[in-house]
Amino acid sequence: MKFDPVLVHDWLTRTARLLPDKTALISRGQRLTYREIEEKASNLASALVLMGFRKGDRAIICLDNCPEAVISIYGVIKAGGIFVAVEPKSPWPVLSSIIKDTGARFLITHRLKLFGREGLKEEARLPARGFQVIVVDGSPSVFQPCPKVLEFSRLTKKVESSVSLPGLLETDLACLVYTSGSTGKPKGIICTHHNMVAAARSVIQYLGNKRHDIILDVLPLPFGYGFYQVIMCFMFGGTVVLEPSFAYIQDILTTIEKEKVTGFPIVPSISAMLLSLKKFPEEQLKSLRYITNAGAAWPVSHIQQLRKLLPKVKLFNMYGLSECKRVSYLPPNLIDKYPESVGIPMPNIEVAIVDQRGKPVPVGQTGELIVRGPSVMQGYWRDKNLTRKVFKKGKYAADRWLYTGDLFRQDENGLLYFVGRRDRQIKSFGRRINLAEIEKTVSCLEGVLEAAAVPVPDDLGGEVVGLFVVGQKGSKIDEAQVKLFCQQHLEPYKIPRYILLMEALFRTPNGKVDYQKLINFLKKTGIKGVLENSVEKEKKTSEAELIGKEQAKGTPDKSAK
């Protein structure tokens, strides 16, 4: 009798045995077969063990989307380690604090992250003793060689001496994900092999992935949504096309067409970009079987437009959080009728919506979403207090509920609706306002591509709403129209006091709206400053104060009270 593997990397080994010559990964002009990836990852694991890497050690993978990043993930877990994928754009102080927090002894990164033209960068101060850096190729000729640094390409070559890799349990840790976009200290989410395999299995099941699927992954690998595409694909034996970004949208479209991509996981900024093209590229997208959305709420206007433009493509609206990877998905056949819903719990996940005392709320009422199942994380890295705070214990060890901090309601059909983050509520003149609700409302206005609401301090009201609006390409939307629409669709106390038109929103590397940056932008310039600047800007395109090409305009709205 044969059983399915229980370790993440054993699934790769299995697929490499079944489909050795199939293309597993297409990235940076390389096409790697399952056999090649399996071999390189095993060689890297052996090399790591030879260098003293031990079971449970952490290795930081600070790489763009490239073949080496994928090989590193599998190499580290094969060596019994925990991989910590970190956004390569992270500034050095952040990277240093993650190195310190994780106690990692290995760092795999781009040469450019460490070296400038003058040699090792001054800010790249690494822990001195027992710390090993591995660099991925990138025009080494430009830079001076540095003896303390190992070349990645040499470590993935066949090792002669036999090395025994450590035996692992599915309950051993496999990854540590730092959550992004949040303020204050980043939280490290820890997951076992079992957590990851369980999550991947459930998602594969509802997406109906088969070997012929070709997945385009433009999401950063440090983002769970990004690296799970690879984990899943290597389980069902498909092909991943890994791209560093979707910035050059025309290149992405060409790739989809050329590689006959069938699955395209996106975040709303990607659908925004696709829909802003003057001519929608349906011809280039004709190989697609499905598009999934996660990371942030999918604006209904995007869903409706994509349904019209790509009627044969299944659209999966999904919801999840790093703490448990994925929670729910809307079966695509329901999307026309319930475009605002994030659907039903995925297989092997149970949810409940509870009030502040932890009691289930009646159907239709808003409460906090709690989640239970094998894909829920083990806790936060070295933070027992925070871990204790988000879990409620049940009758036995595995019976525990994760408190997501997200507000939800469920309709009479059992469909779930995301209402907002618990902490995205503000109090204005003594009344609670959910910022997500404002955004959702304004997104329904024709000509609006997306909107982001932030709290703005106010002497009288405590806080009032500031709203950033991005218009669709070619639309002549102005703030007066937005204000009028708000007056028509929102209770007076919810109407944004300030409305600013932008050409793009600030985003975190994961593509989520960077609210903190928007708030800082307002703080730095000041509401008044923004208004004054906008007048200046009309006279002259001065970019001194304004970040980006926002056409910051705004009008204090006295009727908002």
């Binding site: 400038g116 033209r117 560093p244 050059y248 900024s269 003057k278 600030f506 590397p509």
Partner: protein, 81 residues
Amino acid sequence: MVKDEIRRFITEKFLLNSSEYPEDDMSLLETNTVDSVGILEIVGFIENRFNLKVEDEELTAENLDSINKIAKFVEKKQGKF
């Protein structure tokens, strides 16, 4: 010169906190100098500054992924090539 203006824009906008000096032929994306929003900002800049229109089909790495490439692209659009 077109190239100088582009270099200045990129340096001031994206490399403020860095001692680095961008190489004219370095990939902007691979060196993490800019991200996808940054690319759009660059497009906005060249459209405004050089009074030209960037078409959807032109949003490619070939046209935009280094200072040299952008300069060449702008000059081509201006009809200098």
